[in-house]
Symmetry: C2
DNA sequence: CTTGACTCTATAGTAACTATAGACACTACC
DNA sequence: GGTAGTGTCTATAGTTACTATAGAGTCAAG
């Protein structure tokens, strides 16, 4: 099949498929006489795998490692489990960071006193003086 | 004060300060005879404001709007509150998305059967056949 | 034979910075 | 006065994971 069909079947964009090829996630495919890329079912499987990893929030660098493992499977898959564990920990940290950020934003939101004559907006004042962050001390909100 | 001192006082890197200037978040400062940028307390306040917005996860485009408001304050701050509300909603959506992703990852993690002779790693198999995503149907995990 | 859809390559753009190279300015010390 | 070290200057390129664009070639149908 040609690249367009592979794209349709996998749900991956044509340009992205070519990008993955250039990045070494997909093998360089055969070509037709007219220089069109030619793919087989193996390629679709591999691309599905990639898409699935991507849906799980994995970056190409991680996917690359998993593909390598897929290409030369070993008995010991400990590090695969470790990779997923690390990924879960990372997601956890991001959630915690966002929860914290949300608290700050809600506190910030609460400083708005509505439309008052002659007064400066409470949110702007909080952004100026960091009063909405007082309870956290000086450490950073994010990350 | 020179750019290094402003960087130290604000906690922002020197290169980032220059970047903010180029992006129009900071005004073009005066220069010394030797062509060094010269900043005053107003600049530090403005940069603090920017840093504070950044810590709240706001992007330069949003910060730019807030700075404009700061420069020409109006009585009605409704849209400032709306901006913060939209920001909170966005953070909420990201948290929900990550929670969902986490569930998937934990399910994926659970498919690992440990080190077994001659068998393919359960995680790899799940990544191949999407079995860990069966319960969600075909819709995307992320976003 | 021409129209339209598909494909090709190469390059540049995105966000929000970060890193690098090579030159100039300034201060301290000998 | 010379020089070593630090700070600053500009301009350009790199980062991540793609996305968009330009301009040309390929192929099937009418």
């Amino acid at each position: 099949m040609k690249i367009g069909e592979l794209a349709k079947k996998s749900g991956c964009k044509v340009v992205t498929i070519r990008y993955y090829e250039k990045e070494g996630l997909l093998p360089t495919p055969e070509r037709t006489e007219g220089n069109y890329r030619l793919y087989g079912p193996k390629d679709l499987e591999r691309l599905d795998f990639i898409m699935h990893c991507r849906e799980h929030g994995m970056r190409p660098s991680e996917i690359r490692k998993l593909l390598l493992f897929r290409d030369t499977p070993q008995r010991d898959c400990t590090w695969v489990a470790n990779l997923v564990d690390a990924h879960i920990a990372d997601v956890d940290a991001r959630i915690a960071s966002l929860e914290h950020l949300k608290k700050h934003l809600e506190r910030l939101r609460g400083t708005c006193g509505g439309e008052r004559e002659g007064e400066v907006c409470g949110i702007m004042r909080s952004l100026d003086d960091r009063s909405c962050c007082a309870s956290c001390g000086r450490q950073s909100i994010l990350r």
